[in-house]
């Protein structure tokens, strides 16, 4: 591979990782700030079950509820470590949080066989529990002694302290680990030439889970992307074992997290933990491959699900700079651009705070209560002082409720989705008739995404698609896939044929959903 292809390809993949991670990074910094300034070290320790048997179940539960990815979980893990929580619980939380959240599980249930998703959830929880228990059994004295923090006073000062803490979290050592994780993604795309994983997860390939284990430890996948890829692997008859490996190791582990574990717990425990994790995941993967194999699905000879881990460019690609900018622009959706801008702002604010206030006087001023002001304020407004634990619980519940509300925004009503799809179908007609391959390759994934959203939207609003409509949708998605392949091969006649078939299938789908 040409060095410029390697370089630009890895830059694009790193950029895409940052774009995708933006929203969950914000959540990660916010949760870390809440743990530090509202819950405090002692409160965080108690939230995770203290030293009781409830440590692991509570780590799963909180991990499943919080919408963070494997990058956003790093600042939270750092706070947990500072709060004196055991290594096993931290690692269990660190693995669970990026694997599932309410939105991704619901998405998975509507896209794949619910039993398969249930088995995957149970399998992941087994891995997490075994790994957590194993760590605490092998390394019982791995927890750090917690240094208590002064309590944060209520009112506007508490809000200010959390905001300042978020800035500090953004410009802290956690960002170095996040940068290492992003560099891991770049390294992976440098070593994997474009499209080299298209036949890496074949159902009949016994080494598919091992290949996936090798790749996914360096890869970065958001919980939603992991579920979409797994659903796609089921639909294309790929290896079930490879899907499970991808879920646990791809979504749960990254290079930054591994470096953090090494720095905090040393090399030997990290290597033992990683080896046990990989062995356990591979063991379970091979065990569930045969029983979960979907019936009646013909194995596709290749898949594009893993193209995102490879270099986006080949040696023949020209105009690398323009192509890189175009890919990054296409990856940047409005919600991600907002989140990314806020992340950059927090990072800049954090840097400014460190530069201008190296002795942390701002935070000291915010957390030192002014008794006179408090008494006056209480007397005047009859204000109710909410305990920090209530605020923390309300914030955490608020985060979950916000994810549910975001669900309804992310999956608009079926009628709106139909309109969007109609407009995209019109764009595609012109593109396949004129052989405008770039335009087709741009619109087809968006249309596929809307098709998947159609199922979830109907399910969310309590009117799941009936079998007639589901099969109409399946037919349409198959035609889209054929059109996508024709566009990749730049076969004009084939593209026109599949395009027309797709347009007919779409009209039938539209009628079925009305």
């Amino acid at each position: 591979m040409d060095i410029s292809v390697m370089l630009w390809g890895s830059l694009v993949r790193m950029g895409q990782t940052l774009i995708a991670a933006g929203p969950t990074l914000l959540v990660g910094w916010l949760v870390a700030a809440i743990f530090e300034r509202i819950l405090g070290r002692d409160g965080t320790y108690r939230l995770f079950g203290g030293s009781s048997w409830r440590q692991l179940p509570q780590a799963w539960l909180l991990g499943m509820l919080l919408p963070v990815c494997s990058l956003g979980v790093i600042p939270v893990m750092i706070q947990m470590r500072r709060s004196g929580i055991s290594g096993g619980t931290i690692l269990a939380f660190g693995l669970t949080a990026p694997l599932f959240n309410p939105i991704s599980v619901m998405y998975g249930l509507t896209l794949s066989d619910p039993i398969a998703i249930f088995v995957f959830c149970m399998g992941s929880l087994t891995v997490i529990t075994v790994m957590g228990l194993l760590w605490d059994w092998l390394f019982p004295s791995s927890s750090m002694t917690s240094e208590p923090l002064p309590a944060t006073p209520y009112g506007i000062r508490r809000v200010g302290a959390v905001a300042l803490s978020m800035c500090q979290q953004a410009f802290s050592v956690s960002t170095v680990y996040i940068a290492i994780a992003v560099a891991g993604v770049g390294l992976l795309s440098m070593t994997l030439p474009s499209g080299c994983l298209q036949r890496a997860a074949g159902q009949s390939d016994p080494l598919a889970p091992v290949t996936m284990a090798g790749i996914s430890t360096l890869a970065y996948i958001t919980p939603m992307m992991a579920i979409v890829q797994i659903a796609s692997m089921f639909q294309h008859g790929n290896s079930i074992a490879a899907s499970f490996t991808l879920l646990v190791l791809g979504a749960g582990v990254n290079l930054g997290m591994l470096v953090w574990i090494v720095r905090n717990y040393r090399w030997r425990p990290t290597l033992i933990w990683l080896a046990c994790l990989v062995l356990l995941v591979l063991g379970l993967s091979y065990g569930m491959d045969s029983p979960l194999k979907p019936k009646g699905i013909e194995e596709a000879d290749h898949t594009h699900a893993f193209d995102v881990y490879c270099n986006p460019f080949s040696s023949e690609t020209t105009g690398l700079v323009q192509s890189s900018v175009r890919i990054l622009k296409e990856s940047l959706h409005p919600e991600e651009s907002v989140a990314l801008s806020v992340c950059v702002l927090l990072l800049a604010a954090g840097a400014l705070v460190v530069w201008l206030d190296p002795t942390n006087r701002c935070m000291t001023a915010l957390i030192t209560p002014s008794t006179k002001q408090v008494v006056l304020h209480e007397a005047r407004l009859k204000d109710i002082v909410l305990p920090n634990s209530v605020i923390a619980v309300v914030t955490l519940i608020g985060l979950v409720l916000a994810s549910v509300a975001a669900c309804f925004l992310y999956y608009p009503p079926v009628s709106e989705i139909r309109q969007e799809m109609n407009a995209i179908e019109a764009e595609m007609v012109g593109a396949y008739n004129q052989g405008d391959w770039e335009k087709l390759e741009y619109w087809i994934p968006i249309q596929e995404d809307w098709s998947n959203k159609l199922v979830v939207s109907a399910y969310l609003r309590g009117r799941p698609l009936d079998r007639f409509t589901k099969l109409k949708l399946q037919v349409y998605m198959k035609k889209l896939e054929l059109l996508e392949h024709a566009a990749e091969d730049q076969e004009l006649e084939e593209a026109r044929e599949y395009g027309r078939a797709g347009a007919t299938a779409f009209q039938r789908l539209k009628k079925a959903t009305e």
């Binding site: 009949s204 091979y286 065990g287 009646g296 013909e298 194995e299 596709a300 079998r467 007639f468 099969l471």
Partner: protein
């Protein structure tokens, strides 16, 4: 140090037991390469339309159907696959919801019957009165639909 060594030994033993259990879970016989042969997008005996599927089912039932020389699929497998594909082929046509539901329900009924009393004999499958009934009215539906399409094109 002694404690750590003993834990390492226990861990190794548990890993060995775990791996042995997993090996025991593997299927008894491996599926042959031929059976796993993948195709570009569709299997060779994929009929593309419900009309072709109906014709082919009819051929197989009336015993005049034989396997294609280029397709290694047995007539039995082809028959089972065709019945399984009928709902998706019906969805890839202009057939209305009620007709689709009828085809889908009939296919599910026939398939569940096969599952409860499995057989490898195509004669038993094709002689099933339910299958013959499905074949007859499916052929009628397809004929009506083809007439409708023909009329549509002849009287635009």
């Amino acid at each position: 140090m002694i404690g750590s060594l003993s834990k390492a030994r226990t861990l190794t033993r548990w890993l060995a037991v775990f791996l042995c259990c997993l090996l025991g879970c593997q299927p008894a016989s491996d599926v042959s390469e031929e059976e796993h042969e993948s195709h570009e997008h569709f299997p060779p005996h994929w009929p593309h339309t419900i009309f072709k599927a109906s014709d082919r089912l009819n051929e197989l039932i009336s015993s005049s159907g034989s396997a294609s020389p280029t397709d290694p699929t047995t007539p039995y497998q082809e028959f089972v696959d065709l019945v399984g594909w009928l709902p998706i082929l019906a969805a890839d046509s202009d057939l209305d919801r009620a007709t689709f539901d009828r085809i889908d329900a009939a296919c599910i009924e026939v398939q569940s019957k096969w599952q409860s009393s499995p057989t490898q004999d195509i004669q038993i499958l094709t002689n099933d009165p339910k299958v013959r009934e499905l074949n007859t009215w499916l052929a009628d539906i397809c004929r009506q639909e083809q007439d409708r399409i023909q009329k549509l094109f002849s009287n635009p």
